[in-house]
Amino acid sequence: MAVRVQEGAFDAGAELNGFVQGRTDVGAVVSFTGIVRDTAGNLLEMQIEHYPGMTQSAIEKIVQEAQHRWDLSDALVIHRYGALKPGAPIMMVATAAAHRAAAFEAADFLMDYLKSRAPFWKKEVTGAGADWVAAKEADENALNRW
């Protein structure tokens, strides 16, 4: 398991390739990459604030819960903070397992929990001003799936 909280960019492809390199017990790898999306075509940047003392341990607990629920060979979470431009990668999750169901479900679970339980807050800065992204009820409800 690896959890990295960082301001700098990461290379999702290199992370994916390095994730299970050389292993022959892994049959399935699922990755999720979250990217800064310019919904209205006027986004200048996405600012991501986090709670430094809590972030790493909160994510590690979420990953441990995923490892407890599914038979995973490995799991990786990278999440950035700071000011990010449209098209920039925000975060990444990767899961590895013998079979595809465990890899898919664990990645989906990790995303749902990171969305609503990891201490990050997004603020969109456009030409018209800056607004905190509101949490969606659908994201909170998604936790009931697990």
Binding site: E49, Y51, M111, K115, S116, R117, F120, A135
Partner: protein
């Protein structure tokens, strides 16, 4: 006790954290003390249902006791991922 504020809670109160001397028994009691201080606190805590609280870096709730707690953080629902 160290009290921290994030996102728009931080912006409304105007500072990211502060040391607070308090005998508040629960999180709700602490909120009541802060709200009584100044309008900016009242503005930040106007709707408690829109807020979350962490005690010593663990998600908790507003009924939780503060005995032994060293760090309290207030923030809106998280929007990671």
């Amino acid at each position: 006790m160290n009290v921290m504020y994030f996102a728009w809670v931080r912006e409304r109160i105007g500072i990211p954290q502060e040391a607070v001397e308090t005998d508040a028994a629960t999180v709700s009691d602490l909120v009541a003390e802060l709200v009584a201080r100044e309008d900016r606190y009242a503005a930040a805590f106007a709707d408690i249902s829109a807020l979350r609280v962490a005690l010593d870096q663990e998600l908790s709730d507003f009924d939780a006791p503060l005995a032994g707690v060293r760090e309290v953080a207030f923030f809106p629902p998280m929007t990671g991922g």
